[in-house]
């Protein structure tokens, strides 16, 4: 029977997944069959994809990629691997969106921010003490390399203005608007919708405080524009930004990006 095992096509005489594990690994190894980690033995059929992962052992780089791909639903990985997504602003939204998109294997990410990591970022943004003082683009790129080294990451340490939107984001499928200031959010959305008619934008508005999680939602108010948030709760004195709602909103944005990459335009 022809099977793909740990990324390599093989001809094996086996009926079940655990028989294959016995042949090439040992009993404590994890078995992933067509994207799903199995606890009980299953029959295998022609062209199945099987990944056998030894716990606690650092795999070789080419094996690592097939092990990571194994956990993605078949047909999803191929599409996201080809995708190019830009993230504008690497604060609470952007840093968390970037990590999620790296985990699902989006092939190319553009990270845009002018700022450095500060202590006040640590309450909600994906940075550590060891990143303090570092450019956010670099600190995030380093994390992505630790999570999924197969992602191509480009960085731009710059402020986004009306004059550089087209140059920065041309060639990308989707822009995640993840800025803090409402004027800059509006500037990016207006300029990109006008100058880059083929790009979709997934923006955010309203995620401060600790109101109900369920108020945060995804809408599609305009052609090529998706927005996530509660659309009301701006950050202000007495209503700060906190990790849970910021990450819920980032999750909405990342999932909308994934849906768009898979050809689903409904919210």
């Amino acid at each position: 029977m022809k099977l793909t095992v740990n990324g390599q096509k093989m001809e094996l005489h086996c009926q079940t997944a655990f028989q294959i594990r016995e042949q090439i690994g040992n009993q404590s190894d994890i078995v992933i069959l067509n994207g799903f980690q199995i606890a009980e033995d299953c029959e295998v059929t022609e062209n199945d994809t099987l990944t056998i992962i030894r716990k606690g052992i650092m795999p070789k780089k080419e094996e690592l990629e097939s092990m990571m791909v194994a956990r993605h639903t078949p047909n999803v990985h191929d599409k996201v691997k080809k995708a190019k997504v830009a993230i504008a602003g690497l604060g609470g939204l952007g840093s968390n969106i970037a990590i999620m998109l790296a985990r699902i294997g989006v092939g190319q990410l553009l990270l845009v921010d002018f700022d450095i990591v500060e202590p006040s970022n640590l309450n909600r943004q994906s940075y550590y003490i060891s990143h303090l003082g570092m450019q956010k683009t670099i600190a995030l790129k380093k994390q992505i390399e630790e999570i999924n080294p197969f992602i191509k990451v480009e960085t731009k340490d710059t402020r986004v203005t009306e004059d550089n939107v087209k140059e920065l984001f041309s060639g990308y499928d989707i822009i995640c608007e993840a800025f803090d200031k409402p004027e800059v959010k509006a500037l990016l959305v207006n300029t990109a919708l006008e100058q880059l008619p083929d790009i979709k934008i997934v923006a955010a508005s309203g995620m401060a405080g600790y109101d109900s999680s369920n108020l945060i939602r995804t809408v599609k108010p305009m052609k090529n524009l998706y927005m996530c948030g509660d659309f009301e709760n701006g950050a202000k004195v007495g209503r700060g930004l906190m990790a849970p709602r910021v990450q819920i909103c980032a999750g909405h944005q990342a999932n909308m990006v994934l849906r768009l990459l898979l050809g689903i335009e409904e919210i």
Partner: protein, 64 residues
């Protein structure tokens, strides 16, 4: 005129900018789609609104 899905009464000879100002929109933090096309903020004062127009207006609040 239709604004964000609601029918509203449009006064005569209003530019988009007049309309947005009377509705208390802060034009620095909004995006406006007129009949399915984004309208750059530099054009707000030149666009005269008509009864058959459909406007979508989104406003951003801070935080990210």
């Amino acid at each position: 005129m239709k604004v964000n899905g609601n029918i509203i009464f449009l006064e005569e000879n209003q530019s988009l900018l007049d309309f947005l100002e009377t509705q208390n929109y802060d034009i620095r933090i909004i995006a406006v789609e007129l009949n399915g096309e984004i309208t750059p903020s530099s054009k707000y004062k030149d666009v005269m609104l008509k009864d058959e127009d459909t406007l979508e207006i989104v406003s951003f609040v801070g935080g990210g």
